[in-house]
Symmetry: C2
Subunit: 116 residues, 2 copies
Amino acid sequence: MNTNLYDYAYELEKAMRSSDEFKHLQEMYKSVTNDSEASQMFDEFRNVQMQLQQKQMQGYDITEDEVMRAQEIANRAQENEKVTMLMEAEQRMSMTITELNKIIMKPLDDLYGSMA
Amino acid sequence: MNTNLYDYAYELEKAMRSSDEFKHLQEMYKSVTNDSEASQMFDEFRNVQMQLQQKQMQGYDITEDEVMRAQEIANRAQENEKVTMLMEAEQRMSMTITELNKIIMKPLDDLYGSMA
Ligand SMILES: [Ca+2]
Ligand SMILES: [Ca+2]
């Protein structure tokens, strides 16, 4: 075990928790959860997204009706400003995580790339 | 942008590169790539795994013949000690990465968990 390696991960975790992106995401979540209309829309949106993703991962086809229903729910959710701001905050957090992962996984990319 | 956050990621990347798990993985890779028999078996094994994964992700069914062929290739590859040691090194690296990710993603788990 590399105690050291985990120490660096814990440092990054602390930095993550106090980052602007994360604090903004927390606030946007709070603003949605404290508003029953917004939170209902957001839950509905998230549930339908998850259902479609699961079907896709299990190799099932997604029907045109399902796509249309998901689109309707997404459109409705996006009419709520609190929900829209939460989605944007999630998007930003997700982009940051992608960047962090690229940095951390660079050693493996280098190694595998050198084999190709 | 949180320069700070990325600084911590770069620190973790350096720690990753100098970790026992990564250095061991590098050595095992070298031992396979320097041995044409081992590297051929390993490439064949990796290719068949990737093909099946891609089919699965695209929602195609995997035939019994394909499973049997993949199993044969895996069995043959595992008879080579260098290949086996590389697979074990990859497994260990992968477990370490899973642990690191759990640590780093804890703030998000906490946030999403608190909503459920
Ligand atoms: Ca709620
Ligand atoms: Ca080779």
